[in-house]
């Protein structure tokens, strides 16, 4: 390596090559799409907001966030800790603090600026939109530079880094939005943004120099008393009844609080919207729907940590020797996780069920909801109305739990290629499905064909599911992870759940519209089986490599 600058560039390129290749591929796809549309002579533009969002906004925003994490060393550092997240191993390099701060900042700011310019030129923007050229590139660079400077700084309290960085981002947003709303010219925008880069560099240099000499302020004593009270509340003094209960406690402490805490943070903000929209029934309804969908939505993100067997390192997917050497079967280890996901789901929904009526009453929107309930009772009758509401809540709770557990078999496999590959596959499938759905909705002929073929599509999916479940059951039997008796009981329980759901659907839905075999297929697909039962196999594969 000829210079420090080249070494830093090499590290970024080498360590994040797959991510950088993915971003490059996305930009290439955009360019190809635009070239094809130009060749046809009829420029195709994403005039539809949803399609544009999925094709341009979401991927480019994801790429930008990825660059933020890469160039601020966010993947390797502890964001919640007090110490700088700048890699300590680089502090001993024979380079000045200015160089240590400067090169990653230069590469990062150039990368995000290029990302914007590429998106600006390659994407087919809506025809009625006047897309600025330079200042958004500079805004992206300013965001990155300040993120680097503020995350590399050592802080006196844990978690302060996140708060300071987010506040700074909000401040930049406010200034830029205000300027934009005031119809500021590009020159003014540049004048506002440009000084931020050298300023952020000076802060970053100071931060790196401070971290380099081990100068980490400590003001934790301020909160020591509160911490001691919290510790006393969560302290268990009695013995665990069994190894399984000890492991369940371990999992609850590690993962159990994440979902209730996340939802608990979001709920006040969401429910406050009821006050703002109290005069508009449609918006109140939409707000309530959003509140009810929050737990399953947040569960998708929490699931990534629940399924990860090793939280000590961001790059490590394997089980730690400490857990792997617990005298427990892999099934017991998975069972502890499943128990915690149930506990976590119930705690979250308890929070939601308690806070919604309170918020409705406080903000004076409860009469609106009572009126809707009465209309439902009048339309379908009291028993059906009760069942619909209960079923709705049960479905949302089941969905929350399903989101938490359905990726267990992937995460617990401990193979980075499988985890990253599944994320890539899921995102690809999602993108394809959205584009496909868009195309389907625009072609009425296709909709009719698809509706005719829908039961067959479900039947194929059921075949896949049952085949996968049979394979998993055979592997569980061969590896002696589960006894024959347990396998049979598990299969019986699943059948009972499927029949119960099927019966409920037949009773609830008009069979004129929904044929019973169609409802049976839906019931089979709705109750988790293959992926859930594969979790012990995955953990065993990880634990005994």
């Amino acid at each position: 390596m000829r210079s420090h600058a080249a070494a830093v560039a090499w590290e970024f390129r080498q360590r994040h090559r797959w991510g950088l290749i993915a971003v490059a591929c996305y930009l290439l796809a955009l360019a190809t799409f635009k070239l094809l549309s130009l060749e046809r002579g009829q420029p195709i533009t994403f005039d539809d907001e949803q399609t544009f969002a999925f094709a341009v906004i979401v991927p480019s925003a994801t790429a930008f966030m990825y660059f933020l994490a890469v160039f601020s060393f966010g993947f390797a550092g502890d964001l919640a800790g007090r110490q700088s997240i700048y890699p300590a191993r680089m502090f001993t390099l024979p380079a000045t603090s200015g160089a240590l701060a400067g090169w990653p900042m230069l590469y990062g700011t150039v990368a995000v600026a290029i990302l914007w310019l590429a998106t600006r030129f390659l994407a087919a923007w809506p025809s009625d939109l006047d897309v600025p050229l330079i200042w958004p590139a500079l805004l992206a660079a300013v965001f990155l530079a300040w993120t680097q400077a503020l995350t590399w700084m050592p802080y006196a309290l844990p978690g302060l880094r996140v708060i300071v960085t987010v506040l700074m981002m909000i401040l930049i947003d406010i200034v830029i939005f205000t300027a934009h709303d005031s119809k500021a010219s590009e020159v003014v925008m540049l004048a506002i943004l440009a000084p931020n880069i050298p300023l952020a560099y000076l802060v970053a240099r100071f931060a790196v120099a401070r971290a380099r000499r081990g100068d980490v302020p400590d003001r934790r004593r301020i909160f020591a008393r509160i911490g001691r009270i919290a510790d006393l509340l969560s302290r268990r003094r009695d013995r665990f009844r069994s190894p399984a209960s000890a492991q369940a406690w371990f999992e609850r402490r590690r993962h159990g609080r994440s979902l209730p805490a996340l939802v608990g943070i979001l709920l006040p903000f969401e429910l406050f919207l009821l006050f703002l929209f109290r005069d508009t029934p449609v918006l109140v309804f939409e707000t309530l729907c959003a509140v009810l969908l929050t737990p399953p939505f947040m569960a998708v993100f929490v699931a990534a940590t629940v399924s990860k067997p090793n939280l000590n390192g961001s790059d490590s997917y394997g089980v730690t020797p400490f857990i792997a050497t617990r005298p427990l079967t892999s099934v017991s280890l998975v069972t502890a996780k499943l128990k915690v996901t149930i506990w976590s789901t119930l705690a979250t929904w308890l929070l939601v069920i308690v806070t919604i009526p309170l918020a409705l009453r406080i903000f004076g929107t409860s009469p609106m909801v009572i009126e809707w309930t009465q209309k439902l009772v009048e339309a379908v009758g009291t028993p059906r109305a009760v069942v619909i509401v209960l079923l709705g809540f049960s479905a949302l709770m089941a969905s929350t739990w399903k989101q938490l557990v359905q990726s267990l078999c992937i995460g617990m496999s401990g193979r980075a290629w499988l985890v990253k590959g599944s994320v890539f596959l899921a995102l690809s499938l999602l993108t394809i499905m959205v584009l496909l759905a868009q195309w389907v909705f625009e072609n009425s002929g296709v909709i009719v064909t698809l509706l005719d073929a829908f039961p067959w599509i479900l039947a194929v999916l059921v075949c896949f599911k049952i085949s996968a479940a049979a394979w998993v059951a055979m592997r569980l039997h061969d590896s002696r992870l589960l006894s024959d008796r347990t396998l049979v009981i598990g299969a019986l329980c699943w059948n009972v759940a499927v029949f119960a759901l099927f019966g409920l659907l037949v009773w609830l839905l008009p069979t004129v519209l929904f044929r019973s075999h169609f409802l049976a297929l839906v019931a089979i697909l709705a109750i988790p089986l293959a992926r859930l039962s594969a979790a012990p196999l995955a953990l065993s594969w990880n634990r005994h490599r």
Binding site: D231, R235, R236, R239, F240, S242, P243, S245, A246, W249, F250, R253, R254, N312, T320, P321, F322, A324, T325, R326, P327, L328, T329, S330, R480, R543, H544, R545
Partner: protein, 300 residues
């Protein structure tokens, strides 16, 4: 003697690298078995197979006569393990770690656990993340010992630790030895430690067992001989039975397999004489077996 660990023809590859090559090893009940080898020799890989963290893909591993992969509960509940990685959950407090670990072992000895905690001066309310490296090792040792395991497995227990913590760990091994019927398997590259406590030793080099047997028998079968020549010699003579030479000028020291009779005659022919003879240390034996000779070129 009954074998607690029985490894037979174990081979393990990681990609193109052969980590273990046809390793066979037997650890008898009550033995203190030291595994020595350079970094990357295969010690940790072998220990991970014993614990069932790696599945034997070729060959077999039996611990207490059981397959540790197929029957993890039966095997692991009788083992105390201290990992090289010191991977205790950072968010736990010391008392929580003790309470959590106790649940897994019916034979957990509360009095002994408390005695160890006090000996190591571990504050029960301190979080693991706030412990020093040495204290983390002591906490790990506490939970490995407090259930009085039949087999204690220590993987590089004193790696990177100060002499006081190393002494604690050695003391723990010695206490375990004192308990009747307990077996210890520990890996280390601190050969003086192994020599101090092990009664059996296995040297691993590049995935192969270079030497294995009782410590005393092993040391008795080699001699460390110092030879002085009449004239300075750039290279030592090539003599059958000599594993390696060290030294320079007129005085050279050889590690010899068997007795030194043949060497006496050979050096006399080269105008030299034996001036000292003693039993080799484990370190000298290890270097003789797996180390690169100081001067590989030999005079014919």
């Amino acid at each position: 003697m009954e074998s607690v660990i029985n490894v037979s023809e174990l081979t393990r590859r990681f990609g193109a690298t052969k980590a273990l090559a046809s390793v066979s090893l037997s650890v008898t009940r009550g033995a203190v078995h030291g595994l020595v080898g350079a970094n990357g020799a295969g010690k940790t890989t072998l220990i991970k197979h014993v614990l069932g963290l790696l599945r034997a893909k070729s060959g077999s591993v039996r611990v207490f006569g059981l397959d540790p992969v197929a029957e993890p509960v039966a095997v692991l509940s009788r083992i105390g393990y201290l990992s090289e990685e010191k991977d205790l959950p950072e968010w736990m407090r010391v008392d929580e770690l003790i309470r959590y670990s106790r649940a897994f072992y019916p034979a957990w000895d509360e009095v002994y656990a408390e005695e160890l905690r006090q000996t190591f001066a571990l504050d029960p309310t301190t979080k693991i993340r706030n412990l020093s490296r040495g204290q983390k090792a002591q906490a790990g040792l506490l939970i490995a010992l407090a259930h009085r395991p039949e087999l204690l497995v220590l993987d590089e227990p004193s790696s990177g630790l100060d002499p006081i913590v190393r002494r604690d760990i050695l003391g723990a091994i010695i206490r375990t030895i004192a308990s009747e019927g307990r077996t210890v398997l520990f890996s280390s590259h601190l050969l003086a430690e192994v020599e101090q406590v092990a009664d059996h030793v296995t040297m691993i080099d590049q995935g192969r067992i270079a030497q294995s047997g009782p410590m005393e028998a092993l040391k008795e079968s080699y001699r460390c001989v110092t030879v002085r020549f009449a004239e300075p010699r750039p290279r030592p003579p090539d003599v059958a039975g000599v594993l390696c030479w060290d030294g320079g000028d007129r005085e050279w020291t050889a590690v010899v397999h068997g007795d030194s009779g043949e060497l006496d005659g050979a050096v006399a022919n080269w105008g030299g004489r034996v001036v000292a003879e003693r039993a080799p240390s484990l370190e000298e034996l290890f270097i003789a077996h797996v180390g690169t000779p100081a001067d590989p070129a030999r005079e014919a």
